[in-house]
Symmetry: C2
Subunit: 223 residues, 2 copies
């Protein structure tokens, strides 16, 4: 995968923080991200937002978008819709060739990556592939969380699930974005923003690494 | 889907209970379930267990099995393996036509149902379908759990996820098996065993219903 010098991404772990409004926790990041290029985006931040479902021709809508935002929801349903509407490749082209800024939160961050293999969502519908838009060559685990030591629940921890994924030798690194965590990509530069650490799982048997807000993790664009 | 009069299933929510050994919490149920038909099953209960992965011909292994047990693991990987080994239909035939008893726990319970749409697992690999073996015409949500009122985590509750699934009008009922919960099917009779309630989600907009151990839920075999 080649990384376009123009590519611009803002990938947000979660749409809502406990006690806060929709995208409130990251509105400064969004304003800064969009200020240079986009006129239309979010009403609440002084931008207009057009829903792609309201468009007669979603492919044209993507082609003409000045910015693309995909929010939360069920990752499987979302990805299936993107395939059904034939806009996976179109979004890829717009972002990597035309420099159209892409913002995603939660499921919208998952579908932006190489694949949805590390979503936390329930597989309520069968998409034609788990391959994502491919804007970054690694996986994101949104809402990343550590196990609750007091829990008697026998389900796997998030880290154990990611390790299961890494039992496949060709599985790429997984960036665990805790709630409040934002990945910001400008061309070949990737930076962590937000208020919380991200945890990077590179491969099985390698200790995961914590990255604080402000960290440069551009090396992940070339894995 | 027709329900065979000979079909015998024991579908267990979880392989391990907090503080207990593997399948310890349900060993009495397993002994009772297997006592009439199976010679081979679990070493620890006085039975032999042959791993299907050790067999040269998995289809023949299924054909010759006196009982089938599928335990936990990742549901996506498990279902993909069943398809790769061409044993989905073979298991279906053995159980519904030959009366071979089927036991599943966790992922092994999920794959036994109509589909894996309500697994809690991470989609670490892409199976050729989400359709399960189809031994019951509804879905199971294993490790079913209520939301922790004290949590600040913004992820959906299990009930919200199941409701998302039920936004698809053709989605069948979902039986939430809490840890310690067991579904026992003998032909056209389905009974809850174990120590905890199950919670049944029939469809969107209909209040879920609690069923105590001992409840007859045979109506679910004809949904
Ligand atoms: Ca364009
Ligand atoms: Ca047979």
């Amino acid at each position: 995968m080649t990384t376009s010098i123009m590519k611009r991404l803002l990938l947000i772990s979660n749409s809502t923080m406990h006690g806060g409004g929709y995208l409130e926790h990251c509105q400064d990041n969004i304003k800064a991200f969009l200020s240079t290029t986009a006129r239309k985006a979010f009403n609440s931040f002084g931008y207009d937002l057009d829903g792609i479902h309201e468009k007669e021709n979603p492919v044209d809508a993507v082609r003409n978008a000045e910015a693309i935002f995909i929010g939360g929801g069920n990752t499987f349903r979302l990805l299936k819709t993107l395939y059904d509407e034939n806009i996976v490749n179109e979004i890829y082209k717009q972002v990597t060739q035309d420099g159209v800024p892409y913002m995603g939160s939660s499921a919208g961050s998952n579908v932006a990556t190489i694949s949805i293999n590390t979503t936390n969502d329930m597989p309520i519908v069968y998409p034609p592939s788990f391959k994502g838009i491919g804007l970054v060559p690694f996986n994101i685990n949104a809402h990343y969380t550590e196990p609750d030591a007091n829990s008697k629940h026998m389900g796997e921890t998030r880290a154990q699930r990611i390790n299961q994924y890494h039992e496949y030798e060709d599985a790429p690194p997984v960036l665990g974005l805790r709630e409040g965590c934002i990945l910001h990509v400008e061309g070949n530069k990737a930076t962590l923003e937000g208020k919380t650490n991200a945890k990077l799982f590179v491969r099985l048997g390698k200790e995961p690494v914590e990255y604080e807000p402000g960290s440069d993790i551009s090396f992940l664009l070339n894995v």
